[in-house]
């Protein structure tokens, strides 16, 4: 039977402008093996919030799972106020992550924007563990929003862009794609839809992208989070982001 658990909060601290890193432990951490999956987290007391919030797994290490979230509304605000020792009600891991089990000795580029950055960290760690070379291009709004820069540097070459140029390159992550080594074999990307669109249109090599959508159930039952397939002959014609995704082969779904 599936995984729902009151996970214990081991840490919940601000690591960048309005951005928090929360570390959790619980019975199902050992199931969180695939980077790109997400946790579906209950927020608020009682019935004030009827919907859970999806947050990507940013890391798993020694039976501890990390999520990194930005305060954008009431749910993430509530999360940021949780204290060490409290529990949060979590469903997960949910969805299909990045299919990397077979990847060895490749040069992979990770491209993330804003709150799309967190899942790439766990992904990068796994890829490096499997003997791959990793280059990361991470985009943020401004210097105050940057997080995990050093962590990514430990995985490999890391380029930072900011919208306002206050840190790293000024501009968009796509501006840097042309400057990548020719030996890059695949890309993995997570971030806002326009960025994903830009990224998948710029690359000619194969890649995988991770999508966001407002979710109802988060388990595949409500059809809130669908996107269309590009192939009109596809037998279903759609994908559920919470169940078939959030990671898709670039080109599989309409952006």
């Amino acid at each position: 039977m599936l995984k729902k658990d009151d996970m214990h909060i081991l840490q919940n601290k601000m690591i960048a402008d309005n951005t928090f890193e929360m570390k959790l432990t619980g019975r199902f951490v050992n199931l969180m093996k695939q980077p790109g999956q997400f946790l579906h987290i209950k927020v608020g007391d009682g019935t004030s919030h009827v919907l859970r919030r999806p947050l990507s797994i940013a890391n798993v290490d020694h039976h501890i799972v990390t999520v990194i979230y930005k305060i954008v509304g009431k749910g993430t605000k509530w999360l940021s106020e949780r204290k060490i020792g409290e529990t949060v009600d979590v469903i997960g891991p949910r969805g299909r992550g990045f299919p990397i089990e077979e990847i060895r000795n490749e040069h992979i580029v990770l491209i993330g924007g804003g709150v799309g950055v967190p899942p790439l960290y766990y992904l990068g760690r796994k890829l490096v563990q499997q003997g791959n070379t990793v280059t990361s291009i991470l985009g943020f709004q401004g210097r105050d929003g940057v997080f995990y820069e050093d962590a990514f540097r430990q995985l490999g070459e890391t380029l930072i862009t900011t919208d306002d140029g206050s840190h790293g390159y000024k501009g968009r992550v796509t501006d840097l794609i042309g400057e990548l080594d020719q030996d890059v074999t695949q890309y993995f990307s997570c971030g806002p839809k326009p960025m994903l669109k830009g990224v998948s249109e710029t690359f000619t090599i194969p890649g995988f992208i991770s999508l966001e959508e407002r979710m109802g159930c988060g388990v595949g039952a409500c059809f809130a989070c669908v996107c269309e397939t590009t192939d009109p002959e596809d037998s279903k014609g759609y994908r559920k982001i919470c169940q078939d995704g959030p990671v898709f082969r670039a080109g599989e779904v309409v952006l």
Binding site: K4, K42, V50, L51, R214, G216, V219, A221
Partner: protein
């Protein structure tokens, strides 16, 4: 305590069932618990052909509730029969199949196909979906149309037909009576209230569809009122729903006159909600002095006859 309730076509081992559209076809929730625990399973609306539904975003959270504008996405009646009802063969829980369409013909076609399937125990005629341009709610706000549709579906269905009523009307009792007279075997109520939420940054509705259906705790007082009024005015049973999140809510719907209670939105916050309610119900009933589920159904209005001694 014996929780069994016997309704047209539906022999429920307990009065708890998921509401249509909040439970898919059961597959996903079968990973959380054994679907045989449920009183019944209401499956997602079926239409004649498969439908993609509305553009996204399709859901938005509101204070104590949510809006949805899924737009009846479903794989079409044929594939539902081939794939989903087949999956449900392994369970013995009764199935209530939600029927939708844009035209009377489409409703009839779907009802004929589903009603003939051995795994379907009753139909739920969805004349109350607020999220599609054609069909749905337009049948649900005009008693004459609703009655005519009910009659047409009844004439082809091999199983009992429940009509699912929309709360977006000035006179719910009139609607209920119209479909009862047209042959409905039961009612299920309420579907969602039409609502909207705006994105303050863009100035536009959050839902791509503009409006959506409001569900969750917010609408419970409206649902209780309508179940209370309707269950007194008709003699067919009512499946009550709208905002149930705890076992006290289940009792409130039973008191209001519902014979069974469906749980929609609450499945999203707590996928275990249905089995939890089923487990908690006997103790709750006992704590309020009821020795059977039937003692509380409709007690709010048949109070004099049944007032419990000592409580």
């Amino acid at each position: 305590m014996d929780l069994r309730v016997s309704l047209p076509g539906l022999e429920l081992k307990n009065p708890i069932l998921p509401a249509s559209g909040c439970f898919g076809f059961g597959r996903e929730f079968s990973e959380f618990y054994d679907l045989n625990e449920l009183g019944a399973i209401t499956i997602k609306a079926a239409t004649g052909e498969g439908r993609y539904g509305n553009p996204t975003p399709r859901v938005a959270e509101t204070s104590g509730g949510m809006l949805n504008a899924i737009g009846l996405q479903n794989p079409g009646v044929k594939r539902i029969i081939e794939e989903e009802l087949k999956f449900l063969e392994q369970y013995d829980t009764p199935v209530l199949a939600n029927v939708a369409g844009s035209t009377e013909e489409e409703y009839v076609e779907v009802a004929r196909a589903l009603g003939a399937h051995h795994r379907v125990n009753a139909l739920e005629l969805n004349i109350s979906c607020p999220n599609v341009k054609e069909g749905g709610i337009q049948f649900g706000t005009d008693p004459t149309l609703a009655a005519s549709l009910t009659r047409a579906v009844k004439s082809v269905s091999e199983v009992p037909v429940y009509v699912k009523l929309s709360p977006n009307t000035g006179d719910i009792v009139e609607m209920a009576k119209a479909v009862e007279e047209a042959g409905a075997d039961g009612l299920s109520m309420i579907n969602t209230l039409v609502g909207m939420k705006l994105d303050l940054a863009t100035g536009r509705p959050i839902l791509a569809n503009g409006t959506g259906g409001l569900s969750g705790p917010s609408i419970k007082p409206v649902a209780i009122r309508m179940v209370y009024q309707v269950s007194q005015a008709v003699s067919i049973p009512v499946i009550g729903m709208g905002g149930v999140t705890c076992v006290e809510d289940v009792l409130e719907f039973l008191l209001a006159g519902a014979s069974a209670v469906a749980v929609g939105t609450a499945n999203f916050q707590n996928p275990m909600i249905c089995p939890e309610l089923i487990e908690q119900l006997p103790d709750l009933l006992e704590s309020y002095g009821y020795d059977s589920i039937h003692a509380c159904i409709g007690r709010s209005f048949r109070h004099e006859e049944t007032s419990l001694s000592g409580t």
